[in-house]
Amino acid sequence: MTQSHVYTILLCGVGGQGTITAADLLARVATAAGLDCKISEIHGMAQRGGAVTTIVRFGDSVSTMVCDKGCADNIVSFERTEALRNIEYLKTDGVLVVNDEEIKPLPVLTGKASMPARSKEHLEDLGATLIPATSIAIEAGTAKCANVVLLGALAPTLPFDMALWEDIIRANVPPKTIDTNIEAFRKGAAYTQGA
């Protein structure tokens, strides 16, 4: 990491999957590490089950809040087809972490379109780390913390101490869910480090 490098992380998924919560935790980690940070999210109509993206950018000094094509250091996708939809935003040497799940959009449910063939193989060819975030989250305690499993999978590729991540998670999730979220985070991190 050069002093002036600004990290760009694109989180994508389907409205309601918790991308914004994950992005907020990441931004809090970056801010706690003393970095400038911007999070850009799109609300409104897209939230009704549409495709959503949240951009987190951090570094010594951050200008734009959007991510151009070929500019994301990391993409964390909460769903396989959304990873494919957003792949043009990833740097050619960027890191791709994908929840190994598919959610069918309405045109597919109603038979007007079909899911991409071999999305898993396509993503593997692109060098993605495919992670069964929901089943790992269930092992940790609840499917609801799949987003924190994905953060865990992202964490080892970013320049922050794991202890800082855990402090931020402890301080920002509901008190009753702290242990589950920490467990989910560690399992996610272990998955990437083992991969």
């Binding site: 999070i39 897209a46 009704r48 734009t64 094509k69 087809t81 494919l84 792949i87 959009p105």
Partner: protein
């Protein structure tokens, strides 16, 4: 002081609060909504949702005349609604400071157009501040109250979706307690009839002159002297994109986008070899800079005339290299937004589609009823237009053998501007069917209160307006109330209303599913499914079908057991899961 990450909307609310603002008025609208929601939660303020933006600004002007500082927030199209009081408020000026947020939506993430609110500032001759991040949003808003009171004018504040919905580090401060100023009757200032408006017009002309002098040296416009070969004039979030795309350029960052600092812009233009304006979805700024007499250079590759401008567009226009990237996958299906599982609007649109009605729609979640497979809406123009456009359709089709004309409008939109449209239809003895989809909330913007659900912004006591009573009082003879989940009752009500040539209003009532997220018993598909496919024509995200056999399945993690699909299955193949909630 520790910096917090605040969205532009949160920072604007904080800035108003720190300035001692007493009262907030608004109608919700993306991307502005969280501003008033945040303000309402701060101590020692009064905030309310109004039925529409015109009312919000008028309440604000009353409070200002009486001496209070007021914040008014709205999305860009809301400024159209309050344009009437805005233009004359520029004449009356203020007593307590008035700040009006117009949140624009370049790229139309959640809007029906991408109009530029700066034209309103120019046209009404009200100064406009335009922050470029949350820190500026706080500072500009806070200062805007002093500006408003010292120049005796409302002040507009423009944000865009990338300012309103981007969190950036902000240093917050304490509230300055500001007393409500004394009110003294002054007809010459507050009664805008010709005799008084003419002298106020002259005062406005003088004010414009003093604003133009002030803006030359005000602290909100800044010049970043860089490479003298290229100069860029920009404002707001576009400034951040310019910095990203071309950090070495000389930049004139406008924090006030009306009036413009003519002399300072000339000096900047002379200090650089080439000077460009970079802006998005509009030519407001380039036209305004040209009107100052600054000769702009033109990009060889022009910026996109519509939609957002991103750093890559600016780099392309400047002939700078673009990063390499992979090609997007071409076989990815679209993922349009959809009505939620269990949404009470779904069945209404299914029935309207079945009726082959001409449906004039309106603004809200239910606009999604226009999308496949429901395909249940013919038009959507602006708030309230469903009712008035239906009347227009009926006028034009009168005497012809036409499909039934049905207007569809939500409860909050009906309160916003559907009421006056319906008054027109009744008064002119219009016919047709008006469906009020009463889902007990303003759903699309995040479940806000409105006059027909009796929920107020700060949870104060309210009075829920009597919808059937109001309709009857307006003189609508045929008013029916129907449960939106009851397919037979919905079908019967629509059939009866559309059979005869009179004005009918049907209130379809059922609460938005997002108001009650408790676990519900879910449905499943039993062995009797024949794969006929009727259930999937409801467009419910919980229902899928096997592409080979056509046999349906229901996702228990999405289903909320609303029972709509059960009523459409002729084979009794959809049942409630034993054991209740998932």
């Amino acid at each position: 002081m520790v910096k917090q990450l605040l969205s532009g909307n949160e920072a604007i609310a904080q800035g108003a609060w720190e300035a001692g603002c007493h009262i907030g008025t608004a109608y919700p609208g993306t991307p502005s909504t969280e501003t008033m929601e945040t303000f309402a939660k701060l101590p020692d303020v009064y905030a309310e949702w109004c039925p529409n933006e015109k009312v919000a600004l008028e309440v604000a002007m009353g409070a200002s005349a009486a001496g209070a500082r007021v914040l008014v927030t709205m999305k860009h199209v809301g400024v159209n609604v309050c344009a009437d009081p805005l233009f004359t408020a520029a004449y009356t000026g203020v007593n307590g400071g008035v700040v009006i947020l117009a949140a624009d939506d370049p790229g139309m993430f959640s809007s029906q157009n991408e109009q530029d609110s700066r034209y309103y500032a120019m046209a009404s001759q009200v100064p406009m501040l335009e922050p470029a991040d949350s820190s500026e949003a706080l500072r500009f808003t806070k200062d805007a109250y002093e500006l408003s009171e010292s120049f005796d004018t409302p002040v507009m504040l423009r944000s865009t979706v990338r300012i309103s919905h981007t969190k950036t580090p902000v240093e917050t401060g304490e509230r300055t307690d500001v007393a409500v100023k004394p009110y003294e009757s002054n007809a010459a200032k507050w009664v805008m009839m010709p005799a008084f408006a003419k002298p106020r017009r002259k005062d406005l002309v003088k004010r414009i002159d003093s604003l133009k002098k002030w803006v030359e040296t005000c602290p909100y416009n800044t010049v970043e002297q860089g490479d003298s070969s290229i100069g860029i004039i920009c404002a707001g979030s576009v400034y951040q994109h310019v910095k990203e795309a071309c950090s070495t350029a000389s930049i004139f960052k406008l924090g006030v986008t009306w009036p413009l600092p003519s002399q300072a812009l000339h000096e900047f233009a002379e200090s650089v070899e080439k000077v460009y304006v970079v802006e998005e979805a509009s030519v407001y700024l380039s036209d305004a800079v040209k009107a100052c007499g600054v000769v702009l250079d033109e990009f060889e590759t022009p910026l996109p005339p519509d939609g957002e401008v991103h750093p890559e567009n600016i780099r392309a226009s400047l002939g700078l290299s673009l990063p390499e990237h992979r090609e997007a996958a071409t076989d990815v299906p679209g993922r349009p937004p959809a009505l939620c599982p269990g949404c009470p609007h779904r069945l209404i649109f299914k029935e309207l589609s079945r009726l082959k009605a001409i449906v004039t729609g309106d603004i809200g979640c239910y606009t999604l009823g226009a999308l496949p497979p429901l395909n249940g809406i013919d038009t959507c123009l602006d708030m309230g237009a469903s009712v008035s456009m239906a009347h227009g359709f009926e006028l034009a089709l009168k005497g012809t053998d036409h499909r039934p004309v049905v207007a569809v409008i939500g409860d909050s939109t009906f309160a916003h501007s559907g009421l006056s449209s319906l008054v027109n239809t009744v008064y002119n003895k219009g016919v047709g069917t008006v469906c009020i989809l009463d889902n007990r909330t303003t759903a699309m913007t995040g479940q806000q209160g409105n006059p027909f659900n009796g929920v107020t912004l700060q949870d104060r006591d309210s009075r829920e307006l009597d919808l059937p009573g109001i309709l009857q009082a307006l003189g609508v003879d045929q008013v029916t109330e129907v449960d939106s989940y009851d397919m037979k009752a919905v079908r019967k009500a629509l059939k009866e209303a559309t059979l005869h040539d009179e004005l009918d209003v049907i209130i379809f009532k059922r609460a938005c599913v997002l108001l009650d997220k408790s676990p519900k018993p879910t449905m499943f598909v039993n062995g009797d499914c024949t794969g006929c496919g009727v259930c999937k024509t409801l467009g419910c995200p919980a229902i899928s079908c096997d592409p080979e056999t056509g046999i349906s399945a229901i996702d228990p993690t999405l289903c909320i057991g609303c029972n709509q699909c059960v009523q459409y299955c002729a084979f009794g193949a959809i049942e409630m899961r034993e054991g209740g909630a998932n």
